[in-house]
Amino acid sequence: MWRCCLLSVTAAWLAMVTPASAFIAYVSNEKSNTVSVIDTNTWTVTKTIKVGQRPRGIEFTRDGKFVFVAVGDDDSIQVIDVAKQEVVDTLPSGPDPELFALDADGKMLYVANENDNTVTIIDVEKRTRLGEIQVGVEPEGMAISPDGKILINTSETTNMAHFIDTTTRQIVANVLVDARPRYAEFKRDNSEVWVSSEIGGTISVIDPVKREITKKITFEIPGLRSEAIQPVGIGMTKDGNTAFVALGPANRVAVVDATTHRVTKYLLVGQRVWHMAFTPDEKYLLVTNGVSNDVSVIDVAAQKVIKTIQVGELPWGVTIAQP
């Protein structure tokens, strides 16, 4: 009798709180060689998928059917079938892939090969390499401009953002930024591209037309030495008004007014916060915390951390499917 009541109550409760759109997040765990699947409805890990060695860069395909994950120590990019939740294929990425970018229609994949000072271009459908571009030492961050014409690659020891013409596949400009540039992110209206410098401790705001730095964003947290503040991942809202910056071993995410470039708030998250992804409705932001082995969930409107989810060891990247 009790059990039957409990069951029906639970069912009713579930029906009530289940939002119309639940999302699925995939998190790469660099040390455990797995990918954790998170249900954003229940905020629980629903599946742990075994992948190759040292998974880092992770991205949904445009159709949401597959997830690409760069497995650096296996020198390839693996393809996870979202329906089957297992690895079904491999892309020829070139040596030691770390981060990559998909073009707007999802046909071309640009991969940063850290060991080789190159960016590899892959035809996603044919699963073949189309060519390589020589860049600076230790290429890492990758971003494609909203119009698809420019690819940005950052090189960590050369300390540059390389502007690559996606048609000619030639470098057209190099912008010197602060030490160890990790990540690049465009505003949707192509008015700015932001580049984080992990060791330099800054974000360079670059004018993509003039290809010049227009502003440098710095961070100050009382009680923390400036060396401990190391910006890595960047998340920008679609309207271009608010940005979130992961500050690595500072264990905080900075909230930045993206119009004035002022830091408005620091959110305490887990240890060594690294990369992030928004839910498609932009209600939530998921950030990976490498050292504490968890993912923090940030309520974007409230600018508050509302949840922490345990995942695998050294969570690195996170991607969420667009509906």
């Binding site: 960590e156 190099n174 160890r180 030495r225 060396e227």
Partner: protein, 393 residues
Amino acid sequence: MIRWLVAVISLSIAATSVRAADPIEIGIGYLGRAGVKPKLSLVELPAENDGVAGARLAIEDNNTTGKFLNQHFKLEEVRLKENEDVAKAAATLAERTGFIIADLPADDLLKAADALRERGTLLLNAGSTDDRLREQDCRANVIHVAPTRSMLADALAQYLVLKQWKRWLFVVGSHEQDKLYADALRRAATRFGAKIVQERTFEDTGGARRTDSGVTLIQRQMPVFTQQAPAYDVLVAADESEVFASYLPYRTWDPRPVAGSAGLVPTSWHAAQDQWGAIQIQNRFVKLNSRQMTALDMQAWTAVRMIGEATSRIKSGDPKAVTDFLKGPNFSIAAFKGRRLTLRDWNLQLRQPILLVDGRMVVSVSPQEGFLHQVSELDTLGTDRPETKCKLR
């Protein structure tokens, strides 16, 4: 008519040369003594290109960056023979390069620095850990990339104290540099609250480092040497001369760990370091040199990269401008140590985390958590500003 033609031709030549501007050539010298230091362990014997191999990799890295900035770097290596005059060799090298990476003993380095003082050549000390070069004998034209003995000793002491291994049995070699390292370790013990329960000297009585029945003999000697010690937590050995310390682990009378010149060793770099993207430089180094990267290699790499970092920021290869930038407030360098490295402006020493290694793995990295400092936690390692004896001139 002919004159007109000549004019046109010379004009077009001028135009061509403007278009294809030659890159700025930046020469960097590497000055060291010939021959390698002896080691007790065969696997630790340094290669002949120890140090300069790191400089070569940094030249490659600088040139990859330089091709986007129209800068080109060239390395010139000079090895001094025994009794060769270092001041003269440095002056000759300085005629061709504005920067010299020095892998020299302290006295040699000072002679080179003083010989080049008027010339404006910048020396980067990659090889010497002597504290006096950063203190009473500091020079305004020498930047120190190698850590000091006191930085190494403090890095070790912080960890031993953190582990609560505060009672040290202290064994010191009989050579001058062993005593200097011992001074640094004694200072570290006092600074961080460790206690030297007893100090013993290991006399170097000569003899071969390699013999056919060595192990049998050592196995009898070391327990005897370490017996009847007061209660202690860790044996700390100062043996830069490589006479005895490597024989101590697993052979002490009491079952205790060894640290210092053997066992847990503080160092600026190790081939096992793979954190903070270090795997990339380790891979690049092995690919170029077909061997593993040592601390001296890393110190030389960092020195050459510092020059490349400066030239890329100021868009110039002028030694004076580079020196000013390196000494200025905007300089910092990334060197796979998890944070930016900067210069101590009072003695031109590069601040850096120190690795603690056991020969196969990185055990820990100092400064340790909880050792705080008002400016930089890295300044908990080595001589700090209020204590310095350096007057740069």
